[in-house]
């Protein structure tokens, strides 16, 4: 239980007094262990600094390893040294204050003026002070001459080219009056500048620098300990030398060495200081390295935490479980536990679980945990009562969070219901692949089990898959049937599809129908009828299908007949009257049917639709067979001729262009020079030619889908929009066309040519990557290489763009993550600044909008009118 809660945290600079006060022991020797291997008293491993061995008790607080937080020690430095991280502030102060009186070397009047500007921010004030102080030769307060300060960064200061040592600097800083600290942005109640010169060094507790005992029995110390040993050793040597009255030169050298070690102890990467190295030559990891960067304390441990109650395994598809479910292997279910509080209502149920060995531990009301074993099972059974908490194994119906990395959007983590299944993989319905961006080539996913009732309720209400069908990015479905799902729905709803009673009954059973509809085609059921059983009875829709769009695009004679179009979807009172279900009904971001189901009905409706569809489509495709073969990529003689002609035309026109280009007679595109214009013309030519042939091929292939008994192959996929496009057809059966690199033709390579196969200086079509062959025929060497150039560029681009977009996303997330909508619908930052007066200027949440539109007024009007008409009819 949480007893104390952190309210806020203050940041301060430690004063020497505080360092001494919080010190549990003053460290006096550089030795860590004595001859017997025990930690030395007053050494770096002194037991006063905390315990790291289990069983021992801390000499300061008397607690065991688990409870002792560790304690600081201190080290008195013989000579003060400068704290590197404050060197910049020290520099600013030395540049602007007087050595003798410590005041800022500006007249009272000038200071007053600057005082007025204090609100402008520290950096500007300090800049101004420095600029003004630079011109001052004499201190206006005490009349002392102001010397010139130079800095050998980071820690060596010179006054008129004479070295000034930390002792002098410290004295100087002490003289700066409290009243003038505000000019440097400092608050005298919090900090004094002389603290920036260290006289005493805090020694961190051993908890943060534990030593490891190697198998050989040797002890290996932490990098921090090594560094501290160096500091103490030099400190001792410096003391000895001073006491022995060594020459000033030697003392200064040692002093500098001490400064170096303290500097690298804080920051081993500061500019101008060679990094301190381990014996092996590896740079030591000191304090600032521990905090910094991706693998540092902040980003690695504090904002990214390891958790319990989690599992991870490879995923495999299972279209027979619900989209809301996740199949969990028994071995995982046995490991993961959920806390359940014993109440009068679930007492018997929980007792039964204990008997079945499905409870791992029992927590008594006084907080004592007991593991359930064969021996104490009976005792626990009789003891168990209201108020106890039971940690039981995961069971069917529990809610878990399911996640796949990279978690780029919030639907990368959704709640699923547990369904314990055999085998060792996690099983998901393939419909949820889209939001997770998962496939089954070895992907692994994670499970987290929410432990509290509050967490479980939130997961159920907000994160369940069925409640996240619509994307918050653009207000259209994101959890959708894809690939086989769409192909299956397409095949099911084609006019030609019929089923005999036996098969149809099976599908009706899958839907859980209570009444069996009458067959509509003599003795058989049409696919459309079967599909209609999934739709709510009050659904009315009409929209254009993809099939119709494809036909319009490829066949100049085809015209959509609007309401009567046999390919466009018409749903009347929950019956699919006309049309085929394809991408425009089900697809990501455009599926109008799913959108209506998810938006206008309770979430169970879409869930049922998806669950049943995934069963039916996978069964349908299994019995009917959807396949890909070489045969369907064979094209008619007509197309072959058209392609050959197109290529020929391209060659002829290309030659003309080259001729014009060489004679410099090409008409220039405004704003472009001859060469650029030439390239643009050629790119235009090649893409136009390709498009022509592409449309012809698509047209021929669409025809095959319209046959009485269409073959179920890749053409179905292209027309239904489930996978592939006419571009793929073109690449396989037509010709590849221009190989493009960065939106242009391949240019780089050998002198005057791209490949050694080409003639030098040839700018013709073929010499710069026009590919006249296709994947079926295969390409010749020249074309093969051009194709590879284009392919490689694509590969490199994806690699680079994931990196770039990853960083962009991190920055966006960091900047925006604190924004929330307040109860008055303003958008505010964490410190309550108003960013927007009304969220999105209309208060509408995109996930609830229709593709960004707030509400559809026309639809409402229709509804009102329909309601009025119905009422009238009733009256009659």
């Amino acid at each position: 239980m949480l007893q104390k809660r952190i309210g806020s945290i203050d940041f301060r600079v430690l004063s020497p007094d505080i360092i001494r006060k919080m010190s549990a022991i003053e460290i006096k020797t550089a030795e860590t262990y004595d001859r017997d291997g025990y930690p030395m008293e007053e050494g770096l491993m002194d037991p006063h600094l905390g315990v790291i061995n289990p069983g021992l008790r801390c000499k300061t607080c008397g607690q065991t390893m688990k409870h002792c937080p560790g304690h600081f020690g201190s080290l008195e430095l013989v000579r003060p040294v400068i704290h590197v991280k404050f060197a910049k502030v020290i520099e600013d102060m030395l540049l602007t204050t007087c050595q003798k009186c410590g005041r800022i070397v500006l007249s009272e009047k000038a200071l007053k003026e600057i005082e007025k500007e204090l609100g402008k921010g520290r950096d500007t004030i300090i800049k101004k002070l420095k600029a003004k102080a630079k011109k001052v030769k004499k201190c206006p307060h005490c009349g002392a001459t102001k010397g010139k300060i130079t800095v050998d960064r980071p820690t060596n200061f010179y006054l008129d080219k004479q070295r000034i040592y930390p002792t002098e600097i410290r004295e100087w800083l002490e003289r700066i009056p409290n009243e003038e600290l505000k000019f440097f942005g400092l608050d005298p109640k919090i900090v004094r500048p002389e603290w920036f010169v260290l006289t005493v060094l805090p020694i961190p507790p051993i908890n943060i620098r534990p030593s490891i005992t190697l198998e050989s029995g040797l002890k290996s110390e932490d990098d921090l300990t090594h560094k501290l040993v160096d500091i103490i050793r030099i400190n001792e040597r410096l003391r000895d030398n001073i006491e022995a009255g060594a020459p000033q030169l030697i003392i200064e050298d040692l002093w500098d060495l001490l400064q170096y070690h303290v500097t690298t102890y804080f920051d081993n990467q500061s500019a101008g200081v060679p990094p301190a190295k381990h014996r092996s030559g590896r740079p030591l990891q000191t304090l600032s390295d521990r905090l910094k960067g991706k693998r540092g304390r902040f980003r690695y441990n504090l904002t990214g935490k390891r958790v319990n109650f989690a599992a991870r395994s490879t995923i495999t598809p299972d279209p027979y479980i619900s989209i809301n479910e996740v199949g969990i292997p028994e071995s995982i279910a046995k490991e993961l536990t959920v806390q359940e509080r014993v109440t009068t209502w679930n007492k018997t149920k929980l007792k039964k679980l204990i008997k079945e060995n499905k409870v791992i531990t029992v927590i008594r009301p006084d907080g004592i945990k007991k593991r359930v074993t064969a021996e104490n099972k009976q005792d626990i059974l009789s003891e168990l009562d209201v108020g106890y908490v039971v940690e039981r194994m995961l069971q069917n119906g529990d809610v878990v969070l399911f996640n796949r990395q990279p978690s780029l959007h919030r639907i990368s983590m959704m709640a699923h219901m547990v369904r314990i299944m055999p085998e060792k993989t996690l099983k998901i319905n393939p419909i949820v692949c889209k939001p997770y961006n998962a496939d089954f080539d070895g992907d692994e996913m994670n499970i987290h089990v929410p432990q509290t009732e509050e967490g479980q309720a939130e997961a159920r209400e907000l994160m369940l898959v069925e409640k996240n069908i619509i994307s918050p990015r653009y207000g259209a479905p994101i959890v959708v049937l894809d690939e086989d799902g769409i192909s299956g729905a397409f095949i099911l709803t084609m006019d030609q599809t019929e089923f005999d009673k036996e098969k149809a009954y099976q599908y009706f059973y899958e839907m859980g129908l209570k009444e069996i509809p009458k067959p509509d085609r003599g003795n058989k059921y049409s696919g459309k009828l079967i599909f209609s059983q999934l739709l709510p009875k009050d659904l009315n829709m009409h929209y254009k299908s993809r099939m119709c769009e494809v036909l319009e695009k490829t066949d100049p004679n085809y015209k959509c007949k609007g309401e009567e179009c046999p390919y466009c979807v018409t749903i009347k009172n929950g019956v699919l009257v006309r049309g085929v279900i394809d991408e425009n009904s089900l697809g990501e971001g455009k599926g109008k049917l799913v959108d209506a189901l998810a938006r206008n009905y309770p979430p169970e409706v879409v869930r049922r639709f998806y669950d049943v569809m995934s069963r039916i489509t996978s069964d349908l495709l299994t019995i009917k067979g959807l396949t890909v073969g070489l045969k369907e990529f064979e094209v008619s003689e007509k197309i072959h001729k058209a392609a050959a002609e197109a290529i020929k035309e391209c060659m002829v026109k290309g030659k003309e262009l080259v001729k014009k280009y060489k004679e410099k007679k090409l008409q220039l595109i405004p704003g472009r020079n001859l060469e650029e214009s030439f390239e643009i013309y050629i790119m235009r030519l090649t893409s136009e030619i390709k498009q022509k042939v592409e449309a012809q091929i698509l047209n021929e292939k669409v025809r095959t889908v319209l046959q009485d008994e269409p073959e179920l192959n890749s053409n179905i996929m292209i027309v239904s929009g489930s996978r592939g496009s006419s571009a793929n057809l073109m690449n396989i059966s037509g010709f590849w066309g221009q190989a493009a690199v960065r939106e242009g033709r391949p240019k780089r390579g050998y002198h005057g040519r791209v490949l050694p196969l080409e003639r030098e200086g040839d700018v013709g079509i073929k010499a710069h990557g026009f590919i006249t062959q296709n994947f079926m025929q295969g390409m010749d060497a020249e074309e093969y290489f051009f194709h590879a150039i284009g392919g490689r560029q694509g590969e490199v681009d994806t690699g680079v763009s994931t990196k770039v977009s990853g960083y962009l996303y991190r920055r966006l997330a960091n900047a925006l993550k604190d924004l929330y909508v307040d109860y008055d619908l303003t958008v505010r930052t964490s410190s309550k600044h108003i960013v927007q007066c009304l969220y999105g200027d209309d208060g509408v949440f995109p996930m609830k909008s229709r593709l960004g539109k707030a509400i559809d007024v026309e639809e409402i009007l229709e509804r009102i009118e329909k309601g009025a008409a119905d009422a009238k009819q009733k009256e009659k």
Binding site: S805, G806, D842
Partner: protein
């Protein structure tokens, strides 16, 4: 907050010309009667919905009773789509932009309109906008012309040529004679022809640039006799001054191209100088715009800058066929501009404004931020997301912001 009248696609800042404004005024006067009658029924309906109700009401000539009913129903529907309080809209906006980031193309430029002017696009462009950089890599203006020359290709081209920034060094070469203290500036015919300029005009403009000394004009060149007392250094600096003199155009505009778009001629440029272009009488100041967001916010104010961020982001995203709701872009644009100046999502931008030391330390420059907060005695109030995550408390957005107390 300005009302959002968004014209999708190409949307310059102010869509309406003076004439159209008048027309709208009249229209509104008519509507005032109908809309006003129902004004107290409006409640919290947003402007856009309110307008569309009356648009339909007028089109279908609905009875008053029906309009009332329609408003009532619309209110009910609207209540369903309003954001939930505490919703973490910020991170959702960030995800909406970040998640499709990998789908953005990498290419740095493409051609705006019909192959004339290169404009940045793809992920680099998004970065540029979001970072609030002061220089746009492929700066370009879209200049709309006033009614007089809008449909006149010749005049439009003339004006476009006039805009181009031409310096002496662009069209001429120089020969200095340090002994005689003279300089010969010779016009290069090809370059003049390329830019379609008048040689005579150019020569006289160059002549104006000479402050002291005699100038002799030849057919193709100017010979300048500088005063004898000029030192060599002075001579060289004078010559350089003349060579850098702007002979015509607006500084910063490197290239201009006239394009036909929706039945009128517009000018696209390479390089931008909004302030100077807006002063020209030949243009339509309401629609003329640039893609340099910083410049817009400096010349037209921060609200225009906010709008420019939304428009530019929307443009680049839709070019890459990425659908992101406008509201997400608005949240981002408002965050970048709500301080009164454009601040990017970089460590020197809005990240520095965060008062929480932890939030800053967790982003970038961890050590620096920790030392600074110690030095200035800052307090970590633990209000943001990262901060609470660090100390292990519930995060104060979404359901973490709501606290329930059980009734005794």
């Amino acid at each position: 907050m300005p009302s959002r009248k968004k014209n999708k696609g190409k949307a310059p800042k102010k869509k309406t010309t003076a004439k159209e404004v008048k027309k709208e005024d009249k229209k509104e006067k008519k509507e005032i009667t109908l809309k006003d009658r129902f004004a107290d029924l409006r409640g919290n309906l947003p402007e856009k919905v309110w307008d569309s109700i009356f648009e339909i009401a007028e089109k279908k000539k609905l009875s008053e009773e029906k309009i009332k009913k329609l408003i009532e129903e619309a209110k009910k529907e609207y209540a369903k789509v309003v954001v939930e309080p505490c919703e973490a809209v910020g991170i959702i906006a960030a995800q909406s932009l970040g998640e499709p980031g990998t789908q953005l193309t990498l290419r740095t430029k493409h051609y705006a309109g019909a192959l004339e002017v290169s404009v940045g696009s793809g992920i680099q462009r998004v970065e540029e906008i979001v970072d609030g950089r002061s220089k746009t890599k492929y700066a370009s203006m879209t200049i709309y012309l006033n009614e007089k020359i809008r449909h006149n290709k010749k005049k439009a081209e003339e004006f476009a040529r006039d805009l181009v920034d031409v310096r002496t060094e662009d069209v001429a070469k120089v020969k200095e004679d340090f002994l005689k203290k003279t300089a010969e500036i010779e016009i290069i015919d090809e370059k003049v022809a390329e830019r379609n300029l008048d040689k005579e005009v150019l020569l006289s403009r160059i002549k104006e640039a000479v402050k002291k000394g005699k100038v002799m004009k030849r057919t193709n060149k100017l010979i300048i006799h500088f005063p004898k007392e000029y030192s060599l250094l002075k001579l060289r600096s004078e010559v350089l001054k003349i060579m850098r003199k702007r002979l015509q155009g607006i500084s910063g505009i490197e290239k201009t191209i006239v394009v036909e778009e929706n039945g009128e001629y517009i000018i696209k440029t390479l390089g931008t100088n909004l302030k100077a272009v807006l002063k020209r009488k030949e243009i339509d100041p309401y629609r003329t715009t640039t893609n340099d967001i910083m410049e817009i916010s400096k010349v037209l104010g921060i609200e225009a800058g906010r709008r420019a961020i939304v428009d530019e982001l929307h443009k680049t995203l839709s070019e890459n066929r990425i659908r992101v709701d406008l509201r997400h872009l608005l949240v981002l644009a408002d965050l970048l501009t709500f301080t009164g100046e454009i601040r990017g999502t970089v460590r020197t931008g809005i990240m520095r404004l965060k008062q929480s030391p932890f939030a800053r330390a967790a982003f970038e420059e961890t050590v620096k931020h920790l030392f600074d907060s110690a030095l200035y005695g800052e307090r970590e109030p633990l209000q943001g997301v990262v901060e609470n995550l660090i100390v292990g408390l519930p995060v104060k957005v979404g359901t973490g912001r709501v606290e329930l107390v059980m009734r005794e």
